[in-house]
């Protein structure tokens, strides 16, 4: 699917949004959500505002705000220790759940999983 999209791009800049891209994003997110034990997934932008979520509004806003700050802190901690290093993934294991955060320059992907039966 990736190759196909690349091919379409070479034909010229697209002015209209590519629905296949969006479908791909949706697909991937659905796949993550469908994993066993996953309670919810949230896509957060650079300012901590959720873009797409499978949880209700208040919960996702809360998760987004808190984890955004925590990710910033973790990232700066890793950078302080070794400036050439960078944060790739953050996992917070608690008694009930595990929260996984994948950071990026602009975005944040959060998933909450209930690991044990």
């Amino acid at each position: 699917m990736k190759e196909y999209c690349a091919a379409t791009r070479t034909h010229g800049g697209r002015s209209t949004p590519d629905l296949s891209d969006m479908a791909e994003v949706e697909d991937t997110l659905k796949r993550i959500q469908a994993q066993h034990g996953v309670i919810g997934t949230i896509v957060v932008n650079g300012e901590g505002i959720p873009i797409r979520t499978t949880l209700d509004n208040s919960t996702s806003v809360q998760y987004a705000g808190l984890l955004h700050q925590l990710t910033m802190k973790a990232r700066s901690a890793v950078r302080d220790i070794d400036p050439q290093n960078e944060l790739t993934f953050l996992r917070i294991r608690s008694k009930k759940h595990e929260i996984m955060v994948a950071p990026d320059k602009e975005y944040l992907l959060i998933a909450i999983q209930n690991p044990s039966e």
Binding site: D21, T28, G48, I49, V61, R93, A102, Y107
Partner: protein, 872 residues
């Protein structure tokens, strides 16, 4: 001018008298006697008259008179003034009107004399001159007034009158004792006033009432103040900081979200991250990284612990010297709410014959129920007086101050210990505080019973078991469970070897004859004294208490009845709405006020099991329903026949108890063995222990571990049976005392549940500590025990099935055999008949052969030859 002003200034004599009581200095009032009047030729009303009051007297004459008569002379007071007078003549004025207080007055100054003599002459002139004066005065106004020398107008006299001056010179006294004037040296010494009280005369101050002044009026003032005040304080002003508050989180609108979702960056991000995510998500599912194997391991290991851990350590033992001699403990119960308090009922250790022999002595020594507390091992905390030996008792589950007991003579007794609960609770908390104990009285309080059932209405045999119905439901006259409006336990169930189970109600019966005489009587009875200090919670029941249901236990197969020793009810839970509070919530503990409900009000409840398991004297376990039915023929209430009877042993079964973990698992303990049953399973017990040499005397489930049982033996041993380990022998045996164990109880009130109460026939109560291994149950133990019981059940069912199959088969085989037998019985046929039959058959065969050959078109010659050969 001066004269005029003087004349103006000079007040007229009449004015002076009117304004001032005194007289001016220049006027001296005189009394002239008639002698002096003649001498001076100023006789009143003759020489001097009102028109002509003035008389000029020569100074020399006055002086001469003074010399002659000295003190007697009338002029003696003015002697000095007369001598000082500059002129020769003095004016004497006849004062007819007594303006100065006397009939004559002497003018002492020349000026005054002249003015008095001249004023009439000047009177007319004055008026004219006044007008002129006024005109002149107007012109004079421009000049500043000059200060005039002060002229005394008589005010000095007033001042003098009002001012304080000494009227006499001060008196001075000098006091000295006689004889001391010699001047000897005086010696002073000290003396303590307190030592020489006799020589002291004290004048101490005292409140003299004549001087007490009551303030009738007092100056006071009030000041109002404002409601609002304006104040300010100085605050610590740190560096200013920007602050903001956010009320709502920032969110994107749906269009923005869509826009964002379609961005390419997002797509790249998601695709790059997704793989990582999936790996980690699956990782969690594969293995639980954070599981602690060590702790999970040790739970299963509990059974392998060493023997020392399983020892029951003696914690304390209670033996009362007064009350426990020659007595045995019949029933032990921990106090359900107060931890550390255990209740024991004492009973005489006599056989029936001995009881009859010493019945009079027994009457004099009433038996007691003792409350022991851990804080005081020597003295019991409370004693409950019983009418007779109490075999069993129970605390009411809804009110822990009410205790019901069953006596030797078949009576049911009620106690109310609300008055003494504080003492029990105090001992628990203040046990370490010795000072507190010294303050309290040492005598153990004795509480008399509140109410006793009537002897003729109760049991005819000693009551061996008593239990309260829980507060969730109550039972009506027919035995059907109905809703309990008051949410307190109001009903009791008792059983005795007189072959019946009785239900009692704590409330007053509904039907009461309310006549006027009755009411009056009641009112008169109220001021009756309460000599024993018994609380009147149950006075409505005293001596008139009757059971309302009588369940008899007719035998299933034969006539007669079962005689129960103990019974066990199923634990029933009822769901009530939480908002459904009882009508008389506040009065629920005043049992006299509660009334049994009418049949209409009662709401029947489903899901309540009304079945009882009863252990009898003859070793049977009876499973019956307590509901009674009305027999149409006789009109009496009859109870149904029991549903099931199991004959276990020939000796009596003395314990029936349900497992605290499983509602339908029942333990029955007899003399030689114990067994575990499942309710509803009629084939047999799930487990039956081996018959042992020494007899069991008590049995009890452990409350913390589902598989553990405590058994007491006749020789004083306590055995711990662990069903999961070994169901054939006890896992641990320990000897506690020399006498037989009469009962075992585990503590229910504290959460730790580590104490076991064991009582023996000698009257001693031992408290033992349960070791940790017997206390702590592993998480899977309950499941294991359930599985075990299920297995046993399956086994039983399998056996039953096998039995029934076997029976069937047996029947079938028997039937077959029967059939076979009937077949063999037919007589053997004779030979001739047999030959005839064989010939017939041969003939038939030949004909058949012919037909076939004909069909097959074989030559007749061969047929014939065959035929000829075959005939013999």
């Amino acid at each position: 001018m001066k004269d005029k002003s003087n004349a103006d200034n000079l007040p007229k004599p009449e004015e002076a008298v009117a304004s001032e009581p005194g007289h001016p200095e220049y006027i001296f009032p005189l009394v002239l006697t008639s002698v002096s009047q003649e001498l001076f030729s100023c006789r009143a009303d003759e020489d001097v008259t009102a028109e002509n009051p003035h008389k000029l007297l020569k100074k020399q004459d006055i002086i001469q008179d003074l010399r002659h008569r000295a003190a007697v002379c009338d002029f003696s007071p003015v002697k000095q003034a007369v001598l000082d007078y500059p002129e020769d003549e003095l004016l004497l004025v006849f004062d007819r009107d007594f303006t100065y207080g006397q009939s004559f007055y002497l003018v002492l100054t020349v000026q005054a004399k002249e003015s008095i003599l001249k004023p009439p002459a000047e009177g007319a002139d004055e008026q004219m001159e006044d007008e002129e004066q006024q005109e002149e005065e107007e012109e004079m106004m421009m000049k500043t007034p000059e200060p005039q020398p002060w002229v005394s107008l008589g005010s000095e006299q007033e001042i003098q009158d009002q001012s304080l001056s000494e009227s006499r010179p001060r008196l001075r006294y000098s006091v000295c004792p006689l004889g001391r004037r010699s001047g000897t040296r005086v010696r002073f010494s000290d003396r303590n006033a307190l030592d020489w009280k006799e020589e002291l005369v004290e004048c101490s101050s005292y409140e003299d009432k004549s001087f007490s002044i009551t303030r009738m009026e007092r100056d006071s003032s009030t000041q109002t103040c404002r409601d609002n005040t304006h104040t300010c304080t100085q605050t610590l002003w740190k560096k200013p900081k920007n602050m903001w508050s956010q009320y709502e989180p920032r969110e994107f609108s749906s269009e923005e979200k869509q826009h964002q979702l379609q961005s390419e960056n997002l797509k790249n991000f998601i695709t790059s991250v997704a793989r990582r995510f999936e790996i980690y998500l699956q990782q969690n599912l594969i293995a639980d990284v954070f599981c602690d194997d060590w702790t999970a391991l040790c739970e299963d290991d509990a059974s392998l612990m060493g023997k020392t851990e399983t020892q029951l350590k003696e914690y304390q033992s209670f033996m009362d010297l007064h009350f426990s001699k020659e007595k045995t403990i019949s029933h032990v119960q921990w106090h359900p709410s107060i931890s550390g308090v255990i209740v024991v009922s004492m009973m005489e250790r006599l056989s029936l014959e001995e009881r009859i022999d010493s019945s009079t002595k027994l009457l004099l020594n009433p038996s007691h129920i003792l409350f022991w507390s851990f804080s005081d091992p020597i003295n019991p905390q409370l004693q409950l007086e019983c009418p007779d030996d109490v075999l069993c008792f129970q605390f009411s589950p809804s009110d822990h101050n009410i205790i019901a007991g069953g006596c030797m003579n078949g009576q049911v007794v009620l106690w109310d210990i609300s008055a003494h609960v504080d003492r029990l609770q105090d001992t628990r908390s203040g046990g370490k505080n010795i000072l507190n104990k010294l303050g309290k009285s040492d005598a153990t309080p004795v509480v008399r019973y509140c109410a006793v059932s009537g002897i003729e209405n109760g049991h005819k045999a000693p009551i061996t078991d008593i239990q309260w119905l829980p507060e969730t439901f109550e039972v009506n006259k027919l035995g059907t469970p109905v809703e309990n409006q008051s949410r307190t336990s109001v009903q009791l169930v008792t059983c005795a070897p007189d072959c019946c189970v009785l239900f009692w109600d704590l409330r007053a019966p509904r039907v009461m004859v309310h006549s006027l005489t009755d009411i009056k009587q009641k009112q008169e009875e109220k001021p009756l004294e309460n000599p024993h200090g018994v609380p009147n919670t149950f006075t409505h029941l005293n001596l008139t208490w009757k059971p309302f249901i009588r369940v008899s236990l007719p035998k299933i197969s034969s006539s007669g009845e079962y005689s129960p020793l103990k019974f066990s009810m199923r634990e029933n839970t009822v769901d009530y709405n939480t908002g459904d509070k009882s009508v008389s919530g506040a009065d629920s503990h005043v049992f006299a006020q509660l009334r049994m409900q009418s049949a209409k009000q009662q709401k029947p409840l489903q899901n309540i099991s009304t079945k009882l398991y009863i252990a009898t004297e003859d070793g049977e376990l009876v499973y019956t329903d307590w509901k009674v039915e009305k027999d149409n023929d006789s009109g009496r209430m009859l109870s149904a026949k029991p549903l099931d009877v199991f004959l276990l042993q020939d000796t009596l079964l003395h314990t029936v108890s349900r497992s605290p973990f499983f509602r339908d698992i029942i333990l029955t303990v007899g003399r030689f063995s114990f067994s575990i049953w499942r309710e509803g399973l009629t084939c047999g017990p799930l487990l039956m222990s081996v018959y042992s040499k020494s007899m069991f005397s008590a049995g009890h489930w452990s409350r913390s571990r589902p598989a553990v049982l405590f058994m007491g033996r006749e020789d004083g041993d306590v055995e711990v049976w662990d069903l999961l380990q070994n169901s054939r022998q006890p896992s641990h045996t320990q000897n506690i005392s020399t006498a037989a164990i009469s009962s075992i109880r585990t503590q229910t009130s504290s959460a730790k549940q580590n104490l076991l109460a064991v009582s023996d026939r000698l009257g001693t109560l031992h408290i033992l500590q349960i070791p940790g291994s017997l206390r702590r149950s592993s998480s899977s133990e309950r499941q294991n025990v359930e599985k075990y019981f299920e297995k046993e059940e399956e086994r039983l069912q399998y056996f039953e099935k096998r039995q029934s199959d076997h029976q069937k088969k047996k029947k079938e085989t028997e039937a077959e055999q029967q059939k076979k037998k009937t077949e063999l019985v037919t007589p053997p046929k004779q030979e001739e008949e047999v030959d005839a039959e064989t010939l017939k058959e041969y003939q038939q065969f030949l004909t058949l052969e012919k037909l076939i050959l004909k069909d097959m078109n074989i030559q007749n010659e061969t047929q014939q030859t065959c035929n000829t050969i075959n005939t013999p």
